[in-house]
């Protein structure tokens, strides 16, 4: 499933909004989540999951080409924790 396929699905399921409105809504939802994380905020969607930032400590690394030592500053990476409903729904049909 890609963003454009997801938009198509929503167009089929939602009769009151135009394709253009749905397209803009999906892009805005994603942009709002990125902006929140960018500002160090959490995103919490009940039944789906939460996004937060995790800190990665500063460390020394090496330039893989030259072998030179480089200082890598502290950075933040996005992290997703699936919510209860998502976890159980994904696992529901799974049998091995």
């Amino acid at each position: 499933m890609t963003k454009s396929k997801l938009i198509e699905e929503l167009v089929l399921k939602q009769s009151s909004l135009s394709h253009k409105d749905i397209d803009l809504s999906v892009k805005t939802i994603l942009e709002l989540m990125v902006e929140a994380l960018e500002n160090g905020e959490r995103v919490e969607i009940r039944g789906f999951g939460s996004f937060s930032l995790h800190e990665r400590a500063a460390r020394q690394g090496r330039n893989p080409k030259t072998g030179d030592l480089v200082d890598l500053p502290k950075k933040y990476v996005p992290h997703f924790k699936p919510g209860k409903e998502l976890r159980s729904r994904v696992n529901k049909n799974f049998t091995n």
Binding site: M1, K3, L10, V43, E44, R89
Partner: protein, 102 residues
């Protein structure tokens, strides 16, 4: 982990109302439908790739031995399917620069 404000469906709806011009009902509905569509896809066993944001992937875990941390009793952790999120390049680079609160 960083403390601070939290974006929820409620304030997302508020912003969609202001930015896109949907009424509150429509904004709430489209947000619910969006997350439900992602869940449905993952439930079917299909990954979700959202360019500019990231990919929701599925990983199948094998059964492995585990332990009840309270009693110390050995119990198997059953085979299961889990969702993982891989942030896209664009999201990563926008976040990296976050200066932090300390």
């Amino acid at each position: 982990m960083i403390d601070g404000k939290t974006l929820t469906k409620a304030n997302m709806a508020e912003k969609l109302f202001n930015k896109v011009g949907l009424n509150k009902r429509e904004a709430k509905d489209i947000i619910d439908l969006f997350f439900e569509e992602v869940r449905l896809s993952l439930e079917r066993g299909e990954q979700v790739k959202l360019s500019g944001f990231g990919n929701f992937e599925l990983r199948d875990k094998k059964e492995r031995p585990g332990r009840n941390p309270k009693t110390g009793k050995e119990i198997p952790i059953k085979a299961r399917r889990v969702v993982t999120f891989r942030a896209g390049q664009k999201l990563r680079s926008r976040i990296k620069s976050y200066a932090g609160s300390d």
